[in-house]
């Protein structure tokens, strides 16, 4: 009696598990073709031109695991003295799997005092986000962050 109970439970869990796995597949494949790592690279090229992008100086704060992709808090900050001689000109944020590779461009100046910008963004899938900062000396610095998204944004049906 006891044994059969355990096996029923095990079978149920197994079924539930596979049902969940099957359920996951269409969620991913429903997403229409949008930005890809290649279009993201092209969008980045549009901003930086032929300059090389170095890694560092930039900090990108996004939660690593997001339940709802419709509002994801994001903070980008750049290590910079923010003086007239040395400041952050702009911050550009990109993603690789939304319908469009751009998230936002933010233009600052020496009067900003602190090179930090916060906003809320949408994410259509689990993906990599890249933030690039343009400094007043013409150099570019970047950082990337990976985010896992449970509920995708942007492309759901309107009811």
């Amino acid at each position: 009696m006891r044994k059969s109970h355990a096996s029923t439970r095990r079978r149920f869990l197994g079924l539930a598990g596979s049902a969940a796995a099957i359920g996951m597949v269409p969620v991913v494949s429903l997403r229409p073709a949008g930005a890809t790592p290649e279009t993201m690279a092209a969008a980045i090229r549009n901003v930086v031109g032929t300059a090389t992008v170095q890694t560092g100086k930039v900090k990108l704060d996004v939660p690593p695991l997001v339940e709802n992709g419709n509002t994801v808090p994001m903070t980008v900050s750049v290590t910079s003295p923010m003086t007239e001689e040395d400041y952050v000109k702009s911050i550009h944020v990109f993603n690789e799997k939304n319908p469009q590779p751009n998230i936002g461009n933010f233009y600052l100046g020496p009067k900003a005092g602190r090179a930090q910008v916060s906003t809320r963004i949408r994410l259509a899938d689990s993906q990599k986000i890249i933030a690039i900062a343009r400094l007043s000396d013409g150099s570019f610095w970047s950082v990337s962050a990976d985010v896992v998204v449970t509920l995708a944004a942007c492309t759901e049906e309107v009811i």
């Binding site: 469009q100 910008v117 809320r120």
Partner: protein
């Protein structure tokens, strides 16, 4: 119907770095969503946000459909003198909205 929420400190010490928080009510329709009938919902987003202090631009942002509804943007500036911040949002379908906030620096 649109309305703005601005958070700027009323007073600041000279040279202090202050945080400015802005929120604009807006649907930010991405232009990638479909109705149940399969029709594409046209894009309706705010594309540009600008903040000026006493007429001079201190912060600007290009927004894309990847910015969440009711765009919330925060940034910093140095309080050097008393004056007025003017905020401006521009978007699709002729959307424009402005707001302003005063600060006294001592």
């Amino acid at each position: 119907m649109a309305s703005a929420l601005i958070n700027v400190p009323k007073k600041a010490k000279r040279g202090e770095i202050i945080e400015i928080k802005t929120l604009m009510s807006h649907i930010m329709e991405t232009g990638y969503r479909h109705t149940a009938a399969g029709q594409l919902v046209p894009r309706d987003i705010i594309t540009s946000f600008t903040c000026r202090f006493n007429g001079a631009e201190i912060f600007r942002a290009d927004l894309f459909p990847a910015i969440a509804a009711n765009p919330f943007v925060t940034f910093f500036t140095i309080a050097n003198e008393s004056g007025k911040f003017d905020f401006e949002w521009i978007g699709d379908n002729g959307f424009t909205e402005t707001a302003s906030a005063a600060i006294s620096v001592e």
